[in-house]
């Protein structure tokens, strides 16, 4: 009994803190982080930002992969398949196309150097 008392945590014991609360903490902080980060992105790269953010939202893939596990009935499997396929398109396509766009922004460096070389 005494032993139990000493191991009691004064504020919040693990078991008690529901995931809802944990998730809300994370959500609160992540929203703020997101706002601070995005407001710093210059208009020039808003289109790549949009498609890049889009690719990140494909994170659902991580959730979808768990749906491939056994224990899901057929309808669940079908939904899992759809989820995985669509999220993968979003991730693969999104990052690729963003990279294609940003590569164009980057390429100027080489060009300018050669320009300097010319003059």
């Amino acid at each position: 009994m005494m032993l139990l008392l000493t191991t009691e945590i004064p504020n919040s014991a693990d078991g008690e803190l529901s995931f809802l609360i944990i998730g809300l903490w994370i959500f609160l902080l992540a929203i703020f982080t997101g706002i601070e980060l995005i407001t710093k992105v210059p208009p020039t790269i808003h289109t790549p930002l949009m498609s890049g953010a889009n690719a990140i939202s494909g994170i659902t893939l991580v959730g979808a992969l768990y749906c491939a596990g056994t224990g899901y009935p057929f309808l669940g499997q079908l939904m899992g398949f759809l989820a995985i396929a669509m999220a993968t398109v979003n991730v693969v396509g999104g990052f690729l196309v963003t990279d294609r766009m940003l590569a164009m922004f980057g390429s100027k460096k080489g060009k300018k150097k050669s320009k300097k070389g010319e003059s």
Binding site: I26, L37, P43, M50, A55, V62, G76, A83, V97, F105
Partner: protein, 478 residues
């Protein structure tokens, strides 16, 4: 396996943390043109890590057709779409991907419900067995995800010019939308909180998804085509929030974080665009703006002076400073490479060339920047509205290339204009203004542009690419 699974859970969480870290770092690096590409690479590395860790955790007891089939199909389609798309098609592609992201979240939630009803629930409700937070998170995932899917597809169709209001008949009427929304809420309640056999509960969720799909259509159909970028950005934010909700369903912090980042990004871009157009989000979403038949507006001009390339070239040749103001028409004509060529020729002749980039020129924030970057225009020559608006008065020629609304003086002069108060490029301050477009027809906002009537304006009718090409030929000849 208990202890092993526990360890594995902790280490998977650590990998997820690393992934979240990389996402944040990636977005941070997006704040500079030079570091942006590496930022995207970091974010995709984070995604790869998260996926790898998940695969390890999921293990080999899986339905392979689901896992391998889904990943394989998705990868192929993703690569093909990403490689094939042209820069002008970017807004459509983003809309399409976005829809898929939302749909995936909804499907994950549905799969969880499938698993739920696959077990023996004893006829209890989702809420009864799994608690309120699970029930709410699931229905939110489905609702937001499905609205994002159908809304994005409509936006896609509108951008591609394939969808218009009439195609959908009464769907999108204000009353119908309210009814649909109420129906969706009711289905949310039934799906999450009513007792019933597994089959019944699953059907409720499917019906909820169906209603949400129709609602997505109904919400986006009445919005004017010119406002699609705002809609896409908002839906982008929704797809993030759907991922967030899925995170609450699966108790996965990484999904919550990544989802929130995307949600914030979409919201901020939406706000930026609304500000640049001097309109409120409510006005964008619920006022049917710019969807009127815009072709009928090419009347009422009294002082139009047209010029051919032959006539325009000498003026350009004599100019010592030129500002190019591109708009959506440049994207349509894919004239960016020709524009760059024209600028090089002018620069060789000792003329100073800069580009004025309006924040909502084109059909996406930053649209013009991407196109001009594709054509290797140095970004030092690109100036935004505030930087360049004072310069027009010292400029010999302003070339308005396929832009219209973004240099409409009505925004400043006519307080009753639909675009009143939107900051515009004051091209009319330049000595001479060339307006290159195919006709006198209106831009996306569907309104008349007094600029075409001004004394110092020359209308250069023709396709953007073709006309610039003619200018180049003329200049080379001289």
């Amino acid at each position: 396996m208990g202890a092993l699974a526990f360890l594995s859970l902790q280490s998977v969480e650590l990998v997820y943390m690393a992934a979240a870290f990389l996402f944040i770092l990636g977005l941070k690096r997006l704040s500079g043109v030079k570091t942006a590409r590496s930022g995207n690479a970091l974010a995709s590395l984070g995604m790869a890590l998260a996926i790898a860790a998940t695969l390890v955790r999921v293990g080999t007891e899986v339905h392979w057709w689901v896992l391998a089939g889904g990943v394989g199909l998705g990868t192929v389609v993703g690569i093909v779409l990403a490689v094939r798309v042209q820069m002008t098609g970017m807004p459509e592609l983003v809309a399409f991907f976005n829809g898929l992201g939302g749909a995936a979240s909804a499907c994950v939630a549905l799969a969880e419900i499938g698993k739920f009803v696959g077990g023996d629930t004893g006829g209890a409700s989702v809420f009864g067995v799994r608690g309120a937070d699970f029930a709410v998170a699931v229905v939110l995932s489905i609702l937001i995800g499905a609205v994002t899917l159908s809304g994005s597809l409509i936006a896609f169709g509108k951008l591609a010019g394939k969808v218009n209001r009439n195609r959908f008949g009464p769907i999108g009427g204000r009353l119908l939308n309210v009814l649909l929304a109420l129906l969706a809420l009711w289905m949310c309640h039934l799906a999450g909180f009513s007792d019933g056999s597994g089959g019944l509960v699953f059907s409720y969720h499917l019906i909820l998804a169906a209603v949400a799909l129709v609602l997505g259509v109904g919400l986006v159909v009445p919005i004017g085509g010119a406002d699609m970028p705002v809609v896409i950005s908002l839906l982008n934010s929704y797809s993030g929030l759907a991922a967030c909700a899925t995170g609450f369903v699966l108790h996965n912090n990484l999904l919550i974080i990544a989802g929130s980042l995307v949600g914030a990004s979409g919201l901020i871009l939406t706000r930026i665009m609304c500000k640049a157009m001097n309109r409120s989000l409510v006005n964008v979403l619920f006022a049917t703006f710019g969807e009127e038949d815009s072709s009928a507006k090419d009347e009422g001009y009294s002082n139009v002076k047209a010029a051919t390339a032959e006539e325009a070239a000498p003026i350009l040749d004599a100019a010592t400073s030129v500002i190019i103001c591109p708009g959506y028409g440049m994207a349509v004509a894919q004239a960016q490479h020709k524009v760059r060529e024209l600028a090089s020729i002018l620069e060789k002749g000792g003329c100073e060339v800069s580009y004025a980039i309006h924040p909502v020129a084109g059909r996406m924030p930053g649209h013009m920047n991407v196109l001009l970057a594709e054509a290797d225009v140095p970004y030092e020559q690109l100036f935004d509205l505030d930087q360049i608006n004072g310069e027009f008065q010292n400029t010999d020629v302003a070339i308005v290339l396929g832009a219209n609304d973004v240099c409409n003086p009505a925004a400043e002069k006519d307080p009753n204009s639909p675009i009143a108060g939107m900051p515009v490029l004051s091209v009319w301050d330049a000595q001479t203004v060339f307006v290159i477009k195919r006709s006198l027809s209106a831009g996306y906002a569907g309104i008349k542009n007094e600029l075409f009537d001004l004394d110092n304006t020359l209308m250069c009718f023709g396709d953007g690419k073709k006309f610039v090409d003619e200018l180049i030929t003329e200049l080379k000849d001289q």
